[in-house]
Symmetry: C2
Subunit: 154 residues, 2 copies
């Protein structure tokens, strides 16, 4: 996280767009994550996956979400104090496949100062995770707790 470029509540505005670095994932990583957290045939075995709605090995949606989070933390959403999610909505419009290269494009969609706690607010961002063909494999809307600067920037 490049803290020197991190943004506080008063520096965030609707329409700002951030683009993450990219991350590639391979079949081994897909199967390893699935073994640990989502042991279903379409995430573990290419042959078994052919006969399912996925028509081939696909990453767990939670794996795509976890990679998205890493890309956001590592500069894709430069928010001061880190990414603290109050809640998220996630859809997976297309499968993530072995060999895919993912990146995350994030747009600020709302900035809401807290009425009860003047030191912070809620920032809503939409983060689309794209593969190398620019297909959206995940779309996530997150409400983040973001702090105001302790002292005004000069």
């Amino acid at each position: 996280m490049s803290t020197e470029n991190s943004l506080y509540l008063e520096e965030l505005e609707v329409g700002q767009v951030f683009t993450s670095a990219s991350a590639q994932l391979d079949e081994g990583q897909i199967k390893e994550f699935a073994h640990s957290f989502d042991p279903q045939p379409f995430h573990l075995d290419d042959q078994a996956a052919q006969k399912t709605i996925f028509k081939g090995l696909a990453a767990s949606g939670w794996h795509t979400a976890a990679i998205t989070m890493r890309l956001l933390v590592e500069g894709g959403a430069p928010i001061a104090g880190g990414l603290i999610g109050a809640g998220v909505e996630v859809t997976w419009p297309a499968p993530t496949r072995p060999g895919d290269t993912l990146k995350v494009v994030t747009e600020v969609v709302a900035v809401t100062p807290s009425r009860s706690r003047p030191d912070r607010g809620i920032v809503t961002i939409r983060s689309d995770t794209l593969n190398q063909h620019d297909a959206i494999v995940q779309s996530m809307t997150s409400k983040l707790v973001v702090m105001r600067r302790a002292s005004p920037a000069t």
Copy 2:
């Protein structure tokens, strides 16, 4: 996943409740997941976490979500054909801590047959992940693609 007890679309109804097995997580697992997917100080370092909104080491919400998924796959949501999520909404009302034991209580909240595809439907479930004090650490609403039985049950 105990496939013999798995339920198809016509066997699911609003108000059905399923309870998962339980899973314990420790500090090492929290840090390992965070290193891989959510490398922020409050998920990596207890001392640094004391000074944050979490007031001590907390698991990544994505780690809680991934453990929840494993508990659902391993019998906590006995749905025929597996758990195929079209979309989810997730909130994290309380932190998951080292040493917590989690279980998931799931309720069916809607069953909607597809109008265009008579072989399937969308089932909406709410899955609350509870710690050993029965505090809700995650609440998730998921829309799942669920198939009808190929031939009527006798």
